[in-house]
């Protein structure tokens, strides 16, 4: 996937690649050229990523090479045991969940999975859950409470699926009850927004004691395209909408809507999946260490207080 504003960087990468193939015979001047180009490329990457516009962040947050839920399972946990189904109607693979180990701790981990190729994207419905996905999440949260193990939620969705069956089976009710379950369980919930935090479809599993965002993730009440088409009456105004919405991790931290920003490697998570996930794992462990010291009622009170505070007069 090639982002328009990354074009000059990719072009330099290509040049470096071509030159390094030519340099196999060890000519010094080519090696010098390569090193110069690499410096230039790093400087450019720095510049571009230091000055990202909100809409460019939207594009990065949606980048298909960004680590997805399954990558986090692979690099951050061991002994993952997937658990399926809502025990009511069906199984929705847009949200995956199950038991896993993170360091020496058993956790209940769940999150949106967008898929990484055509087949898996269809299987996971592009990470847009049906009511069954949210009801599975509620079931797993209740089990986590029963076993007194912490909950980790990984958030990455454009939103809950707007379909006929989804409406008939109570998408609204499923989201409302998910939020309610998040608020009422007596174990810690740490939520990490790793890509797109799309509206009700995200908050349904992101009502946590601690909410963290990756550096280039976004979190909003409506997509910039949707916002532009409603308020500006034109989807072309998506850049302006993204700007006005204050949907970047930096804005949301400043507004006290999220608790922490997790840094990404230079040039974004899609350039170094493992490094990104290690950063997430470190931040997550730190939070779990402190939250697991709190009592069930303290955890519930902390969550209630946190959300009652949102937007209050300061």
């Amino acid at each position: 996937m090639l982002l328009d504003f990354e074009k000059p960087i990719t072009e330099l990468d290509q040049k470096i690649h071509e030159l390094s193939q030519m340099s196999s015979d060890g000519k010094i001047d080519i090696l010098q050229d390569i090193s110069n180009l690499q410096k230039k490329r790093d400087k450019l990457l720095h510049e571009v990523y230091e000055n990202l516009t909100p809409f460019q962040k939207v594009q990065i947050a949606r980048h298909t090479d960004r680590p997805h839920f399954k990558d986090y399972i692979k690099h951050m946990t061991s002994d993952f045991v997937e658990m399926s189904g809502d025990r009511l109607f069906g199984e929705d693979a847009a949200i995956i969940g199950g038991l896993a180990r993170i360091n020496d701790r058993t956790v209940m981990i769940m999150g949106h999975e967008k898929g990484s190729d055509i087949d898996s994207r269809l299987k996971h419905n592009f990470g847009m859950p049906l009511p069954e996905g949210y009801r599975k999440a509620q079931r797993l949260m209740r089990l986590a409470e029963q076993y007194q193990i912490p909950i980790v939620t990984i958030v990455d969705t454009a939103g809950a699926y707007p379909g006929m069956g989804a409406e008939e089976r109570g998408q609204s009710e499923a989201i409302a009850k998910s939020i309610e379950t998040c608020l009422s369980v007596s174990v810690p919930i740490v939520s990490i927004i790793i890509g797109e935090g799309g509206s009700g479809g995200a908050i349904a599993i992101a009502t946590g004691n601690k909410v963290m965002m990756l550096e280039h993730a976004i979190y909003s009440v409506i997509s910039p395209e949707g916002c532009a088409s409603i308020l500006w009456r034109s989807r072309d105004k998506k850049e302006e909408a993204a700007e006005a919405q204050k949907l970047t991790a930096q804005d949301l931290k400043r507004l006290d809507i999220i608790d922490q920003i997790i840094p990404e490697p230079l040039g974004g998570a899609h350039r170094d999946v493992k490094k990104t996930i290690l950063n997430v794992k470190a931040a997550l462990n730190k939070e779990l260490d402190s939250l697991t010291k709190l009592s069930g009622s303290a955890l519930k009170n902390q969550r209630a207080k946190k959300y009652l505070q949102m937007g209050k007069k300061t």
Binding site: M164, E167, Q171, S172, A204, S220, V221, M310, G311, K312
Partner: protein, 285 residues
């Protein structure tokens, strides 16, 4: 020939009377059957079309007056909150929009909170006003739901929320999203106190409002033909590339799918509510 009295007279009357009797506030058109309805008849019929029985939208004030005994109630001031936390501007400044709607509705935001009685059963009501930015939920609305729940807890009485909302207040960005969990904290407060929390879903109830407190009531009542759903009709049609059936997302459709308890005609509403309140308020002998 009564040609003259049937045709010429009304025409003449229209010409002569046009000066002071502006038909605009005397007559209104039913959005469903398009019949012209005399405002006073409509008011007397509680904004139910006298021709086709369509339930027209009511303002929060009209709701409260209609619902409480003798139209009497005590209104509670809306809580103060951050007004325009993002300094939002689309084609217009959000702060200017707010001012326009505040002038137009004589209210601070999209809800009114009041206490009163229905057939002598006391309760707290929080009624949405669709006329105020489509009844959208921003910080003040979220705060108001908490305020209403706190009042219900204080007087140990049930809470009824009457919804009419297009969803989140986009101009407040993620703050409006955060009102979903905030409103659910209010719902939890009611549940933990063992107090009834009832919802009356009216046309329309969608988006972030339907996906939080609106669909979390102990008892969910809806008005006939009210549009209730998560995603908007157009969004769904664009996604599935299919036209939806006419009755899709109507109160009756939700009832059929087990998503609400009952659909109640506006003329039966007070009686139904008073019965529910009496059953719940006088639980023990």
């Amino acid at each position: 020939m009564n040609w003259i009295s049937n045709y010429v007279r009304p025409k003449l009357r229209a010409l002569v009377g046009a000066k002071n009797e502006t038909p605009e506030n005397l007559w209104t058109k039913c959005p469903k059957c398009e019949q012209m309805l005399f405002m006073r008849d409509l008011e007397r019929n509680h904004y139910v079309c006298t021709n086709c029985d369509h339930h027209l939208r009511m303002s929060a004030e009209q709701r409260l007056k209609f619902l409480f005994d003798e139209g009497q109630y005590k209104e509670i001031d809306l809580p103060e909150a951050q007004n325009d936390p993002l300094k939002f501007k689309d084609t217009k400044r959000y702060s200017d929009r707010l001012k326009t709607y505040r002038d137009k509705t004589k209210n601070m935001d999209a809800v009114r909170i009041a206490t009163g009685t229905i057939s002598d059963e006391k309760l707290v009501v929080c009624a949405f006003d669709f006329n105020f930015m489509g009844g959208s939920m921003g910080i003040v609305v979220g705060e108001s739901i908490v305020r209403a729940a706190e009042e219900a807890l204080r007087i140990k009485k049930p809470l009824l929320i009457i919804t009419a909302s297009g969803g989140a207040r986009m101009q407040e960005g993620a703050f409006s999203l955060m009102q979903m969990p905030k409103s659910m904290v209010a719902v939890e407060m009611m549940k933990n106190a063992g107090l009834p929390y009832l919802v009356l879903l009216t046309d329309p109830t969608t988006g972030g409002v339907s996906a939080s407190f609106a669909m979390a009531g102990d008892i969910a009542i809806a008005e006939p033909e009210a549009m209730i759903g998560f995603a908007g009709r157009r969004v769904i049609e664009e996604t599935i590339r299919e036209k939806l059936p006419d009755n899709f997302q109507t109160a009756e459709h939700l009832l059929e799918h087990g998503m609400i308890d009952m659909v109640v005609h506006r003329h039966e509403l007070r009686a139904k509510l008073s019965r529910i309140l009496r059953l719940l308020n006088q639980r023990h002998a």
